[in-house]
């Protein structure tokens, strides 16, 4: 059923999905004969999102697909012409013939945990072409990485799956499912699809978005909304009073429900709501899950659910559970679980562990607060705060020139954090004796790489006093060539990448990933790169003259 992202995206992800200034700059490069200069750009972030200390790298496959298919159509060229009417017409001839066959892209695997300053993409190739890729690559990496990180943080907040959670001793048994419900609050149609895809990558378990299910093969989930419940006002609206049992026989259902309702002393529950639950159970006897807060959760919704669930159980179908969509979710879930327990005892039915789904305006902080105060929720449906990344709605990834024709380039700034690390670099992840990553070490391409068991000086890129000797127990080169001008790397499936994110999360020390006061993970540079940066910095930065 998975049709692949490419088909559906291609008519938007074109070279024109870009800022005008890329085309004006490249015209000026072309005009001054520099468009073929050998350039290196780094795409990187300056800080981790959400006040955290890690970022999930996502969007790579789409980025590589874009580069692979990079081509301006006649129609595109006509538009560029109309915007740059004074430009030399030979420029447009050049634009018409460019592609990415001389571009190389190096990157960590999609789903890798990454950190500020290290290149997420290293793009090498002719200046005029590498420059044109900027905006589109940022669009394709920034939001996917942001929402995948948001999803992973929420997954951490509710506990990892049992098979990977041992490492987090305190969280055992806390594993809950997370459903993405954000389509209606996303930035348009594709904003919704992008959110679904990368929330799943980051660790969510399913989406409500049908088109995301169809396009990417993500499991879809969903039952009913308030509208369904409120269409019914009385039992008289039910066209049928029976249900078909699992072995195909017709059996009386409505009067059974009413009997149980009486036994539950729930005669005051809302009759329209009861009718709605019956109709839904008749349609989906194998997956009966009721939204219980249309009128009054504990006085009407839950008793109505239980009456229908008991009749369904009697007819041979195990009911699934309820969904809460307003009110105090901790309190209501506990009270509901209590009613489930009572009914289990009273009627000797296995209702104690029926599913409780909750879904009202949940964010990462709510998940932590709920865990702290205790609750009985099994599944969280999260929309707005997941897809909008409300706590930080943009990842500030940037794309900066670091080398031209073999010479390092730097962007200085009044704001120190905006300074770039010049030159073509490799990144090694150094692993400690317990198997945990200790630091990401950047070195200049050509320098001797760090070796297992050998001490190496690692320095903070800007602060002289911060440095340490590190003897790694293992060393991993972070970047691989993902596009060599002809061929794209083979990408694992979305499902495999999601699994890789979970592995990444368990491979890091928990204190880097925790919600409150996480420990910063150190990104360092070699002695040689440190000296290189500071030499260039001294050369390029004008000395202030005060009078």
């Amino acid at each position: 059923m998975c049709l692949g992202g490419k088909t559906i995206m291609n008519n938007l992800v074109t070279p024109l999905l870009s800022d005008l200034y890329e085309f004006t700059m490249v015209y000026a490069y072309w005009k001054s004969g520099r468009h073929e200069d050998a350039s290196v750009f780094d795409l990187f972030i300056r800080e981790n999102p959400f006040g955290g200390e890690f970022t999930i790298f996502a969007g790579l496959e789409e980025a590589v697909n874009y580069v692979k298919n990079f081509h301006l159509t006649e129609d595109d060229i006509d538009y560029v012409k109309s915007v740059l009417p004074t430009a030399d017409t030979k420029y447009f001839t050049w634009l018409k013939h460019i592609d990415c066959s001389h571009i190389k892209i190096y990157a960590p695997k999609e789903g890798t945990i990454v950190f500020p300053m290290i290149p997420l993409l290293r793009v090498e190739g002719p200046l005029g072409i590498a420059q044109l890729l900027e905006t589109t690559l940022l669009n394709l990496i920034n939001y996917p990485s942001l929402v995948a990180t948001n999803a992973a943080r929420m997954k951490l907040a509710v506990g990892l799956p049992a098979e990977v959670q041992n490492i987090f001793g305190t969280q055992a048994g806390k594993n809950k499912d997370l459903l993405e419900f954000g389509l209606r609050r996303a930035q348009g149609p594709n904003g919704g699809l992008t959110a679904s895809r990368y929330s799943y990558l980051g660790g969510f378990d399913a989406t409500s978005n049908m088109l995301a299910g169809k396009t990417y093969g993500i499991p879809v989930k969903g039952t009913l909304a308030h509208a369904f419940v409120s269409t019914f006002s009385s039992l008289k609206e039910l066209p049928s009073s029976v249900i078909i049992t699992p072995d195909g026989k017709q059996t009386e259902f409505v009067s059974n429900v009413l009997d149980f309702r009486k036994k539950l002393s729930a005669g005051n529950s809302h009759e329209g709501e009861l009718a709605a639950f019956i109709a839904y159970a008749q349609a989906f006897p194998k997956s009966f899950l009721a939204l219980v807060d249309t009128y009054d959760t504990l006085k009407s919704g839950v008793p109505n659910f239980l009456a229908v669930a008991l009749a369904l159980h009697a007819a041979g179908y195990p009911p699934v559970g309820i969904r809460l969509d307003s009110g105090d979710l901790a309190y209501l879930s506990k009270q509901t679980r209590e009613q489930f327990r009572k009914v289990s005892n009273q009627f000797r039915v296995p209702f104690e562990n029926l599913s409780i789904v909750a879904s009202n305006n949940i964010n990462e902080a709510t998940l932590h607060a709920l865990t702290q105060q205790g609750h009985e929720i099994d599944v969280f449906g999260i929309g707005t705060h997941l897809v909008t990344c409300e706590a930080q709605p943009a990842l500030g990834g940037v794309y900066k020139l670091v080398e031209v024709n073999g010479a390092p380039r730097i962007k200085l700034s009044q704001e120190k954090a905006k300074t770039t690390i010049p030159g073509k670099k490799e990144v090694y992840r150094l692993i400690d004796q317990h198997g945990f990553p200790m630091t990401d070490l950047m070195i200049r391409v050509g320098e001797a790489p760090p070796k297992v068991g050998e001490k190496i000086l690692c320095r903070h890129p800007f602060e002289e006093a911060k440095r340490a000797y590190i003897k790694p127990s293992d060393v991993k080169l972070l970047h691989q060539c993902m596009w060599d001008g002809k061929r794209a790397a083979e990408f694992p499936t979305l499902e495999q990448r999601r699994q890789f994110v979970l592995e990444q999360i368990t491979s890091f020390r928990q204190d880097h990933l925790r919600y409150l006061n996480p420990t910063p993970y150190k990104v360092s540079v070699s002695e040689s790169l440190y000296n290189f940066i500071h030499e260039i910095w001294r050369r390029e930065m004008p000395v202030a003259e005060l009078e």
Copy 2:
């Protein structure tokens, strides 16, 4: 050049761009024979975004296009089947044949200023079809209205165009241009396009997004980035030292620039930056605008710009200006203007009013703060905070059933603000003697509409004590039929709708629109609707029993 939004969007905006629960609910409607019931849904918001007291209604044309083209393909049906394997196969036959020929949509004109509780869309038609539209309609209205409102608020913060600003006495002369730069921080490709389109609708003047320019005919703007400046390290990299004058002659340029640099006592300015500015001026002599903060704004960027600008002026081209992208924008813009003034006097050139563009992480609060402290910025480029709507990244629009088969439906809630206003309603905007809207009055369809010059009792929908007699000087029916099952209303062009938004903004009392402590605009109901709501409320809400 405008290709129209439809072409580019259609492969995403399909009936599957929806939550699964719409399909499960509709199956249950279908199963209980209710899918043909006559239903009315209201799409409305519960509060205005950004702590303000108004909302710009946007997204209507796309919503109507979606309804017009509503159709499930064989492929879509196969996917729905795979997700609902136990459903009756006749359901899929029904799904295959549905369209919106029995749906009617009523709405205010796109660009209208709207308020909480009033329907933004009233959708009438068969329950099973009207229900299926929910998620997609919310996706198509929520974010567009949010970002258009954000854009309009930013436009208000910098002053309206001269022709409409008289009404805001204090803001005369403050009119500035706003450019949308958000593509790289949007939710994927279409998130970026949607942001560009509706920012323009809300009052922005141009976008950097080429595809938005091509698709929607929005003016595009852009010049150069830091990368361009930092590719150059010396004047030796310039392939040519000349420039072509407006009358087609070749004239020496670089040595002229160096002369002016000496006269400006700017011999210490960064040579690579100077080379970059020269190269850019050679490529775009008619539109020379330089990014001046790559090394040091006041010591290098501005003097380098001025040296090139003076030589360009001497060659017969008026320079355009500079862009600031970091640092204290108020201070730097004033200092830059001061340098412009000095040079104007020293060299007798008209440089005093050259353009100063600013673009570093600007939001609505920054715009107000800058206005307050004084600045010399002419144009603001805004990206992240505009497209992500960081101050409130989602508009909480909802889609609620208000009537079935002529009977009113209500959704009660533990949270009062989540209660809906039942029944099919009309909305009249009542205008006071000065021409300003006073209140939006909702009445039941069939009630006598309010009349000019006649006193009518307007009540708060929920609070008994809040009521007033209003004698309107004018009365405007807010909703029109936008889709009647066969034909869509004619939509004005994007440009016309943008103009309509500006008109709307000037037609309201300024105190409703202001940034600090805006006055809430009153939304009221007729006496008859008030009684109707409270009667239903009493009937449906279970009375608590305490023990």
